[in-house]
Symmetry: C2
Subunit: 337 residues, 2 copies
Amino acid sequence: MTTAKDAGVSLADVAKRANVSQATASKALNAKFDVSPKTRARVERAARELGYVPNTLARGLTGGRTGTVGVITSDLDGRFALPILMGVEDALGADRVFAFLCDARGDDLRERQLLKSLIQRRVEGIIIVGNQTDERPSLGQDIGVPIVYAYCMSDDPRDRSITVDNYQVASVAAQHLIDIGRRRIAHISGEAPHSAARRRKDGVVDTLASSGLELSGEPLFGDWSEGWGRAATAMVLDRNPEIDAILCGSDQIARGALDVLRERNISVPQQIAVIGIDNWELLAANSRPSLTTVDLNLERLGRIAAQCLYDPDAADRSGISYEPGAIVIRDSTIPRY
Amino acid sequence: MTTAKDAGVSLADVAKRANVSQATASKALNAKFDVSPKTRARVERAARELGYVPNTLARGLTGGRTGTVGVITSDLDGRFALPILMGVEDALGADRVFAFLCDARGDDLRERQLLKSLIQRRVEGIIIVGNQTDERPSLGQDIGVPIVYAYCMSDDPRDRSITVDNYQVASVAAQHLIDIGRRRIAHISGEAPHSAARRRKDGVVDTLASSGLELSGEPLFGDWSEGWGRAATAMVLDRNPEIDAILCGSDQIARGALDVLRERNISVPQQIAVIGIDNWELLAANSRPSLTTVDLNLERLGRIAAQCLYDPDAADRSGISYEPGAIVIRDSTIPRY
DNA sequence: CTGAAAGCGCTTACAG
DNA sequence: CTGAAAGCGCTTACAG
């Protein structure tokens, strides 16, 4: 058990009890070489008996590793931060590195201050987690430690950014609809200013074109909400009643679409198939019918970002990595029987 | 700008450039007393010119404060951790304390290891964030630093726990329904083994009793999902068609209820009012009609937990604090015109 | 108001 | 294989 008293036990105490020098005690407890098995056993025993708890701070001071990184989220509130954090956690845990979690709350000044504080604490790297996939201003090149942008991307190509491949993600969705035989596909998406909305639209259009198809009607941009999904679906149904599928820019929008289709007694997917993007389980798994969608693999994205920090030749690999998503098939495109 | 080179600048360098001793430089940069304004100005200038970045690690070593706490979540995946983390972040930020975020992933052994690692890093306190409000095994009394349980509660009364007042939260919901004139109220909730489900039921029953009312039909327990909300609502409608309100144990369940009512052309709230618990915005704000619910105030809960860690007489105040929620009125009980 | 000295707990060359 | 010594970067009594 780790108790209060332990905090008072230092390496010197352990060394004394084991009748060795502090240097030897240090080696015995850390490196595996240069210590006789007998001595090591003695030191280890002393450490155990005393309930010795090494002080990581002191170790860091010696110029060695601090074993910490900083994670600055721009907005913890958003839905994307969490899975990314999980991935970061996962990757760091394996190396016994700890993450300082900081929330800039969308405030640039606060972000800068956090950055500075993290440097003071001698973090070995910093991950900036954005709340959208758009470009954001670079924090600069001479931070002193590796820095990587996750989800968002830096506007400076010398920085390393890991983001979602919006184009690919949408292509996968479109291809799936084509694969199940749909030919008259409408597209409803979120906020046009977001690169996510624009790139996804491009992915859809290009993929359809590869099969000699065109979108049924103009793509509709609004926001990423259920409400917009409902409104847009009603519009689409009026303007293009011939459609046999709706490709939605997000799961929230898709939920709205499903809602309206159900209300109008249009069977999904028999008459109209519906597909979302995000694989937000809460939304996708609980709808009627359950929603086919594209998983963004955010946890993986977080893991990659964390690994970049400790990648020896990360410097060579600056620039933006676009990470692919994968389709998750549910009943809104291929119903189970 | 904070640059790579800075990492090499120490207090000694600053002192030299300012022509003072290191001790004086330290005082000039930290404490406000015992240094002449002129000297301080000189030191500050030197520090600025050199781009001096104090090493927080060394400061911590001196026996002073490390300015760090550990936060161990049992499951980042859950929906409750995030708002709590935000509150923690908020409270700590004011004191320039940083939080190590660790995810135990529901693994007790891993949790213990994390606890130990955090102690090695000399955190000044630890917050254990549970993913449900039930009791959990205490981590013990002699950790060496203050420890507080948030959302979940420790089974040892000597520990400090901050959790949701499930009884009050449900009472508020019930009272609201009574206030708008409902008398025949059904209750659909989540998993019976969860104290959240049981205490909420008690709150509902007692509050109704205070007004001389009884629940319409037996309370229904299932899980916290939309699917269960739909199934249970259908049952309730069959067995107790006379009801004029449904009090749901969570917003997810309420979404399911709303869905079925809409399908059956039962107007909400005119014929049947619906209320949830959680105030999960995504769900509550986007339903049709929008959902009245009880906000759990989780951010506040996180803030309180963080403050406890630095509360001088926290020792006296062991035990469990039950934090109240507050109603958020939307269209499912009082429609806007 | 200022500074020399000791110490925080550890690790790392460098001798033996 | 073992140990004495120096040093990591800072702060804190203690003299002056």
